[in-house]
């Protein structure tokens, strides 16, 4: 055990931090849900950040930390799957990729080059151009779309299924951890200056303790996510995503409650993170499905019927 970053990990994450800082602003006239910055993907590709997981010296651990960092930005772009899942799939390269469950809307489906199709037991790949993709209006702070025609999907080898499954869970967990941290940071900023009854809101113990409990949850989800990245174990990935989705459910309520009416406005940035969190709470089947995977994979020999 040694939780210090290696020099390579430190350097690449410092470089990513600098890049992220240049995307950390919001145009004053933006009052929408999905603040998409396609140039974020271009900058990440140019900097070689989509290669992190594929490098033997680096791998999924720093890649998941990169996903976590990018998720803290107010803007969004398809990053998580490209960084963590695409390296497992031949031919996809750095092109944007979106997860599609037949018949359901998915994030980035309308802007991805590739669609990763999931059914009950396998994953398949199809070019978005042949899947009759349309954009859909949504309150989720991601661009959302539907694919109407998945007939030409190519199912991937069964041997890849478990690995893709674990990486998807890791990618979503890493994104959730970053989103939760950003939503909490915005809320803390607000309650540290907003005064009622002559005191900053953040001095009231009723709020302080709830924020502290959320911090415990977010940090716990982060440790489970990092462990899942380090081991590649399917049970670790399921546990990480379960905990991240569980923590996200509570956090969304708490941060909006503490931000009050200000948090309801599209002028504040809070919804950019919380409505992305909400989009991810049902990913991979949501907490219920993750819980079943945890039981089967983390409790040795227990089968969920």
């Amino acid at each position: 055990m040694d939780f210090r970053l290696t020099d390579d990990q430190r350097q690449i994450l410092d470089a990513l931090d600098k890049l992220a800082d240049t995307f950390d602003d919001i145009a004053n006239d933006f009052h929408g849900f999905a603040l998409v910055r396609p140039d974020l993907r271009e900058a990440l590709a140019e900097g070689g950040f989509f290669d992190i997981a594929g490098f033997e010296e680096l791998g999924p651990l720093p890649a998941s930390m990169a996903v976590e960092r990018i998720a803290q930005l107010p803007c969004t772009a398809e990053v998580a799957l490209s960084m963590l899942v695409s390296p497992l799939i031949a031919d996809v390269g750095y092109d944007p990729i979106a997860l599609v469950r037949p018949g359901q809307a998915g994030r980035f489906v309308d802007s991805a080059k590739w669609l990763l199709v999931v059914d009950a037991t396998r994953y398949g790949l199809i070019e978005a151009a042949v899947a009759d993709v349309t954009s859909v209006e949504s309150i989720y702070a991601y661009p959302m779309g539907r694919a109407k025609d998945l007939a030409q999907v190519t199912w991937l080898e069964d041997s890849l299924t478990a690995r893709i499954d674990a990486r998807l869970k890791l990618a979503i967990a890493a994104e959730l951890v970053g989103l939760m941290a950003a939503a909490q940071a915005a809320t803390i900023e607000h309650i540290s200056v907003r005064k009622q009854f002559g005191r900053e809101l953040g001095t009231f113990q009723a709020l302080r303790h709830r924020m502290a409990e959320c911090r415990v949850q977010i940090g716990g989800a982060r440790w489970l996510m990092l462990k899942a990245a380090a081991t590649g174990d399917p049970g670790d990935a399921a546990l990480a995503l379960f905990h991240a989705q569980d923590a996200g459910t509570r956090l969304c309520y708490e941060v909006h409650q503490m931000m009050g009416a200000m948090g309801m406005t599209l002028e504040m940035s809070l919804h950019l993170w919380t409505y992305r969190i909400k989009a991810l709470l049902s990913d991979m089947g949501g907490r219920g499905v993750q819980a079943e995977a945890v039981l089967e994979q983390c409790f040795g020999g227990v089968n969920v019927v």
Binding site: M1, L5, L61, I188, V294
Partner: protein, 378 residues
């Protein structure tokens, strides 16, 4: 970043596991009537002495005091395995973790020679005389006084919630020798000193766990003072730095959870509600584990753990609570004669958020030190 045990750490864990497998009797789980009971205390003295002879009681201590100067990971692996087995060391974990090391740093030569060898041999039990009726989480409000006279100190006052006091040989006692925080001193007091009265408080935790301890004109020599008069707060800060990692209660909680899930599965009683609750409890146990590991890692690299330790402490409280709730809701029979280990865990779990300062103190520390929220007005 590495998330794997190295060869030495794995070998040490195997060594501890093998020792437990060899030395814990088959009826051990039903023996544990309470962490401070006579049965537990007597058993612990035998067990800890055997641990000492195997070099597994105080591996992190200096060689001069019977240790092997092992790193903080070694101590934590040892503690994890012990807690997973139901903590057969009983109250002696305190000697190992902090009373011994504190005496090594602040004790006189005579105090060290008198008290440390029995700790290293696993044959002595201590209690900590901290809390009082009017001084719980607010420890600085304590009123027990030690007056210096011609023949030494005379101590008067009352302690409460004192674990293990009924069977303890000595007390690590906080008493007031002046005013304010700088007026608190530490005394090492043999529990058979005239004037000390111990009353057990029947509790939901189990037999012999918590007590009232009365000090009525208890006369002790000046040689019982640890450090200088008024140095208690500095010494307590040192104690806390040793204890920051906390007790790996999550290890026992995780074992109880695993056993209960298996039992429910085998009995065909693992319903959807239980599955989600079990996953939540598992996530809480593992969060507590990795938070705690992160603190051990800091200590391993010479970093004094900061407010992050409060995250580990609160995560552990959460894990204890969720496992206890899971058992009550889905396997309640275990607490009615069904499983002594599960019962023992349930009785102890309630302590996690109360002992060593209320969990709410940890939340305050997180809010102020980590989240940088403005402080509450006082």
């Amino acid at each position: 970043m590495e998330f794997y045990w190295d060869t030495e750490q794995t070998a040490f864990r195997d060594e501890v596991k093998a020792f437990i497998a060899t030395h814990l009797p088959e009826d051990w789980e039903s023996l544990a009537h309470g962490p401070g009971s006579r049965e537990q205390t007597d058993f612990s003295k035998t067990f800890c002495n055997q641990l000492a002879q195997a070099g597994l009681l105080v591996p992190h201590w200096p060689k001069a005091w019977g240790g092997r100067e092992a790193d903080p990971w070694t101590l934590f692996i040892l503690a994890e395995e012990m807690w997973m087995a139901g903590e057969p060391r009983g109250g002696q974990y305190m000697n190992v973790n902090w009373i011994g090391p504190t005496l090594m740093r602040y004790g006189t030569e005579a105090q060290q020679q008198r008290y440390i060898p029995p700790m290293a041999q696993g044959t002595t039990l201590w209690c900590q005389g901290f809390s009082e009726p009017e001084a719980g989480s607010d420890l600085a409000a304590l009123k027990t006084r030690a007056e210096l006279g011609a023949g030494g100190y005379v101590i008067n006052g009352q302690k409460i919630w004192t674990s293990y006091a009924g069977m303890a040989d000595n007390c690590f006692l906080l008493a007031r020798t002046g005013t304010g925080k700088s007026g608190i001193s530490i005394f090492l007091v043999p529990m058979d000193t005239p004037g000390i009265t111990v009353r057990e408080i029947p509790s939901i935790i189990g037999e012999g766990d918590i007590h009232e301890v009365f000090f009525d004109d208890v006369a002790v020599g000046e040689d019982c003072l640890l450090g200088d008069p008024g140095q208690a707060w500095e010494i307590i800060r040192h104690v806390l730095s040793l204890e920051r990692v906390g007790i790996p209660r999550f290890a026992m909680a995780a074992r109880v959870l695993e056993r209960t899930v298996k039992r429910l599965h085998d009995g065909g009683r693992l319903n959807a509600g239980a599955i989600e609750q079990a996953a939540r409890a598992k996530a809480a146990c593992e969060s507590a584990r990795w938070y705690s590991y992160s603190i051990v890692d800091q200590r391993r690299h010479g970093v004094t753990p900061g407010p992050e330790a409060s995250l580990a402490r609160f995560a552990t409280v959460t894990a204890e609570r969720l496992v206890a709730e899971f058992v009550v809701e889905h396997a309640g029979d275990a607490l009615a004669g069904g499983d002594p280990l599960v019962l023992s865990h349930h009785q102890r779990a309630i302590v996690a958020g109360i002992a060593s300062g209320a969990a709410e103190i940890q939340l305050n520390l997180i809010a102020t030190e980590l989240l940088k929220l403005p402080r509450e007005p006082r």
